[in-house]
């Protein structure tokens, strides 16, 4: 009888799911080096979301980069010099890269908001800090400047129930 009841509950899909449309972490005052004549530069960013995922109780489920926001802090007046911005996730395990954001034709004053994509990055986020690489292209400044980078995840967490 117990097996029958448990089977019925499993068939009924017993379990809990949290749909989190947007968890955002802001990395303040990130340094973007001088382009020194280059048309494109890459800026590495390490985003450790493990404390947040642990706090959310997320051990199973999925997460996708939903948005990246670049906000000028100081060093430049606006982002009009940008013509493209790409965000890749580096995977140290196999040296591969996943393209999360690829945006061209940038026209932004001081804040640039880009929609993300690229599939499930939860395994990488749980394994360690996410190694993101921002590649900026355009008539880049010859001076160092600073920006706040906000990375947002849309997560779906499957919770186990102790019933």
């Amino acid at each position: 009888m117990r097996a029958l009841v448990l089977s019925a509950l499993v068939l009924a899909g017993c379990g809990a799911t949290i749909d989190e449309p947007s968890v955002c972490k802001t990395l303040r005052d990130q340094t973007v080096p001088s382009a020194e004549g280059l048309k494109a530069i890459s800026v590495p960013l390490a985003v450790d979301l493990r404390p947040e995922l642990k706090a959310l109780g997320v051990t199973q489920g999925s997460a996708e980069l939903s948005q990246v926001t670049l906000h000028v802090d100081d060093g430049v007046s606006d982002l009009s010099f940008l013509t493209s911005l790409r965000v890749n996730l580096l995977q140290p395990s196999d040296g591969g890269e996943i393209e999360l954001v690829d945006y061209e034709g940038v026209t932004a004053p001081t804040t640039l908001v880009l929609d993300g994509g690229g599939g499930d990055i939860l395994p990488d986020a749980l394994a360690g800090p996410l190694s993101l690489q921002l590649t900026l292209a355009g008539d880049l400044p010859e001076t160092t400047w600073h920006a706040d980078v906000t990375v947002c995840l849309a997560a779906r967490a499957d919770l186990g129930l102790n019933l």
Binding site: V5, A8, L9, A12, G13, C14, G15, A16, T17, I18, D19, E20, P21, S22, V23, C24, K25, T26, L27, R28, P51, E52, A55, L56, G57, L159, G160, L161, N162, L163
Partner: protein
Amino acid sequence: MVSVLAVMQLTLATVALEPAAPVPLVRADDSQPVLAATPIKFGAAFDVGLPSGLELAPYVRPLEWLQLDLALGHDGAAFGLGGGLTLGALESSFTPTLSVDAGHFFRGDLSGKLGAVTGLDLSKYTWAKQFDFDHVEAQAGVLFGWPNVRFYVRAGVSYLHATLHDFSASLQAATHDTTLTAADPTLTAIAPSARAGMMVSF
């Protein structure tokens, strides 16, 4: 069966070309109206269950196989309102039943209970301390007892839906990271449900 025969008798008597006598509208033996409907019954049920908590539910039984109720409940942290219906041979002394109930519990501190169910330490999450939720339950059970006092047990499946309020503040407090922001997420769950209780007909 007596009523059916009486109705047939009444019908035949009405279509007869030459009725021999006035049509009887009452039974000869007990003087009760032949076409009287089953009287609507009222009562109140009290039960305890999961996830419904404690409930007091006034009910009406418009048909002998259908019972409708409105419920005032308490989930251990806050009050709730709901309603439901039960199907079965509700006038008999023992009957299987099918029930569907739905309701909403208002905000209350369920951090301890939710923590026990999920295995998470939710004591520092404000969303768990102001947790409100909707629930829908489908249950099968049995109803037994006397005409005016019945007992019941039911088991089935429940669907729960909740919005986790002030989630951003909760997350910041839990991680000590003020750069975090979050939209209020939704929680949905399908879980076992059960309840046991008694009902009294007036």
